[in-house]
């Protein structure tokens, strides 16, 4: 492998090194002379991008995205990306920024072949995986990564040069996220590479069918319909279509679920907390947070008296608002003429008047709420749309006396973008809303996630929940071994003490390891050591090479017929192969009144180890060097 890496290192000097860390993503320049990556137009270095031509800066951004992914993934096989630029659609109303995706999926062949020798490379049989992940399983390159045919590469990507007449879009080539009103190319490329590496469902949007042979893709094991408590692979095609627009679709993968509390925050809450003259308004209110809203602090939020804007709508054409220092302002949607004014304009004017938050009262009853859109990096206060009826009620209350309100985060509703069981929600809007399919996190996630459908202005260059999802689908399968020793026979009423060790041989950290047991003819008494509860017992994370040990006390069960057995399984929330669980089985002779009943055909010798480490599945794996 070192030889391969040396060759790659030399090669990448020519196309530009993407990453020589855990995985290598090779960005292949698919452009002709003086176009795209080869455009010679001079450019000043910007935001950490040292390129001196437009083309060079573009390539550096792609290589940065490849490096970020490469540091996070692990594969012996280079992941190839054919990338190019073109004058794609862009006009004064909208634009295609770029597109990307995998070109190949792989699945195991006839199960009778997979059951024999050699064993299947796939963690799950007859299941579709993207080529980059399949190559990681196989340890060999399945696609040549050469030529002009996109199908020869793991991922194809094509981005817009924005040369169209009237095109209003521009790229930001800096690496620091300081893109202001331009499109942050690095975020867009990171997102699109994510799809290419496996963040996507293969299920047909319109028909709900699987792509071929009626076999599921790996996503279908984890797409979880909350209403029916069923995974997509177990649903009918029509049920999957309905599930995709149910508004109740979640990712039921243990790694993501484990990561939700440390990744997501609680959802925002608008409530009136005090109104001495109008106590009926003291309650929580429905709202939609504006796309451009300033953040709602995770700790504390904002609170203060409500104040109705002096000009009603808060449009600039009406002149400045009277001071709203320290208040949460209320303004009406719309404006003094048919043209109205934008949510962004209202927000800026309220903020300039000193408001610490803004509630925009809808002027329409249908729809009662929608998401205020716009882009405004300079707006730092929370901006919410409330219903027309609530707006009227609150304005009346303010006219009657002081009203104190708060915009905070609500711990009682669980994490923003997850269900109560910490399953992260996927995007499944019940009506046509901005965005795309189930292959994205839900827009309610907070903080914003890379793989949400809408690229938020504050999106960081991080992979957040995407990596745990990749762990769930098998990018980082772990091995665990478990072994133990103890007495070979027990008398009735006698307790036996057994010692177990669980080891993670690597190459990955095994998160949230737990041990479960199946006892036959034996009764559990107690655990001690690293296992502090009865089974299932949580051992926590096991680093590479780490061992945890515990002692279990058992005794013959009342219904024992002279046989006893214990089977202990160590597993992790990380993806494991079907046969990657280490099982231990032993037969214990339970003497009856001082002698066995003859039920055991094999007499177990005294104090010999009665548990043996069973063979582990041989994974095609390597240790990080």
């Amino acid at each position: 492998m070192k030889t391969v890496r040396r060759i790659l290192a030399a090669a990448l000097l020519l196309v530009g090194p993407a990453s020589l860390a855990s995985a290598t993503l090779v960005v292949v320049n698919g452009d002709g002379p003086n176009t795209g990556f080869n455009e010679n137009t001079p450019a000043a270095p910007v935001g950490g991008n040292s390129g001196t031509t437009v083309g060079e800066q573009r390539l550096i951004v792609f290589q940065k995205a490849a490096a970020i992914w490469g540091e996070a993934l692990d594969s012996e096989v280079p992941i190839t990306i054919l990338a190019s630029w073109a004058n794609l659609e862009c006009n004064n109303t909208g634009a295609v920024l770029g597109s990307a995706g995998p070109t190949n999926f792989f699945s195991s062949d006839d199960p009778s072949l997979d059951g024999g020798v050699p064993p299947s490379i796939f963690p799950r049989l007859q299941t579709w995986y993207v080529s980059a992940e399949t190559q990681r399983f196989a340890g060999v390159q399945l696609l040549p990564g050469t030529g002009s045919d996109p199908a020869n590469y793991d991922i194809q990507a094509r981005f817009n040069t924005f040369e169209g007449s009237g095109c209003q879009a521009t790229w930001y080539y800096g690496l620091d996220g300081n893109h202001e009103n331009a499109q942050d190319l690095l975020v867009v490329v990171l997102h699109e590479f994510g799809h290419g590496l496996g963040f996507l469902s293969l299920t047909s949007n319109s028909a709900g069918t699987f792509p071929a042979m009626n076999e599921p893709d790996i996503w279908s094991y984890f797409l979880y319909d909350e209403g029916s408590a069923t995974h997509w692979k177990d649903m009918t095609a029509s049920a999957r279509v309905a599930s995709a627009v149910s508004g109740a679709l979640a990712w039921d993968g243990p790694s993501v679920t484990q990561a939700v509390p440390e990744t997501l925050a609680f959802p925002p809450l608008l409530q009136v907390i005090s109104a001495p003259n109008t106590p009926a308004v003291v309650k929580a209110y429905d709202f939609r947070l504006a796309e451009f809203s300033g953040p709602i602090p995770v700790d504390g939020g904002v609170s203060g008296p409500l104040g109705v804007g002096s000009t009603g709508w808060g449009c600039s054409s009406q002149g400045p608002l009277d001071p709203l220092d320290g208040r949460i302002a209320i303004l009406d949607r719309g404006g003094p003429n048919d043209a109205g004014c934008t949510f962004v304009e209202k927000a800026r004017n309220a903020q300039d008047a000193g408001a610490i938050g803004l509630l925009v009262a809808n002027h329409l009853e249908d729809p009662p709420l929608l998401t205020p859109s716009g882009t405004a990096a300079d707006v730092t206060i929370p901006v919410l749309l409330i219903t027309k009826a609530d707006g009227t009620s609150l304005k009346d209350a303010v006219a009657a006396g002081p009203v104190e309100a708060a915009i905070v985060r609500d711990s009682s509703q669980g994490y923003a973008g997850a269900d109560p069981a910490h399953r992260a929600l996927l995007y499944s809007p019940t009506t046509l809303e901005p965005g795309s399919s189930v292959s994205h996190w839900d827009r309610t996630a907070f903080p914003n996630l890379l793989m949400e459908p809408v690229i938020n202005a504050d999106q960081a260059h991080t992979l957040d929940l995407t990596l745990p999802l990749f762990r769930d689908i098998g990018w980082f399968p772990v091995d665990l071994s478990i072994s133990g020793t103890g007495p070979s026979s027990l008398s009735n009423g006698q307790q036996g003490t057994f010692t177990f060790t669980v080891t993670n041989p690597g190459p990955y950290v095994a998160p949230a390891v737990k041990v479960t047991s199946v006892l036959t003819g034996l009764t559990f008494v107690s655990n001690s050591g690293d296992c502090t509860t009865s089974f299932p017992c949580a051992l926590g994370d096991l680093a590479v090479g780490q061992t945890k040990a515990f002692t279990t006390t058992l005794k013959p069960g009342t219904s024992s017929d002279g046989h006893g057995s214990a089977s202990l399984t160590a597993d992790s929330v990380s993806a494991t192969r079907a046969a990657n669980v280490a099982n231990l089985t032993v037969t214990v002779q339970a003497s009856s009144g001082g002698g066995g009943d003859g039920g055991c055909t094999t007499a177990l010798g005294p104090p010999a180890p009665w548990l043996a480490l069973l063979g582990l599945v041989a994974l095609a794996r390597r240790r990080r060097s």
Partner: protein, 117 residues
């Protein structure tokens, strides 16, 4: 295709071959899009998304690994794409969303009319 593939040790050679071929990779994989002149409205963008996300040309074949194992392959030369689309507001500011179908793009582009104000 129904043949064997090289070991990872061949990957480097393949990449080197790719380097030699880079200068021969003229233009975008599907040909360069025409200049769009003064086209306006969301329809051209939606049509671009429809083309980029079309999955009607999927093909299936098999590949044999060096260890003799046969695996099946789905190929879509155009790619199983997602498309990043921008919508411009009246103030020239944009909102960006990732879509995987023409209807999703249409819904997104139409969303700007009423939601911006």
């Amino acid at each position: 295709m129904n043949g064997g593939v090289g070991r990872a040790g061949g990957a480097g050679a393949w990449v080197l071959l790719a380097l030699g071929a880079l200068s021969a990779c003229n233009g975008a994989p599907e040909g360069k899009a025409p200049a769009h002149g003064a086209r306006t409205g969301s329809a051209p963008v939606v049509e671009s998304v429809r083309v980029a996300t079309d999955r009607s040309a999927i093909t299936q074949d098999a590949v044999t690994l060096p260890n003799g194992q046969r695996i099946r392959r789905l190929t879509l030369q155009n790619g199983f794409n997602h498309v990043m689309v921008a919508r411009f507001g009246p103030d020239g500011k944009s909102v960006v969303s990732c879509v995987d179908s023409a209807p999703a793009a249409e819904a997104f582009l139409a969303g700007g009319a009423g939601a911006g104000q």
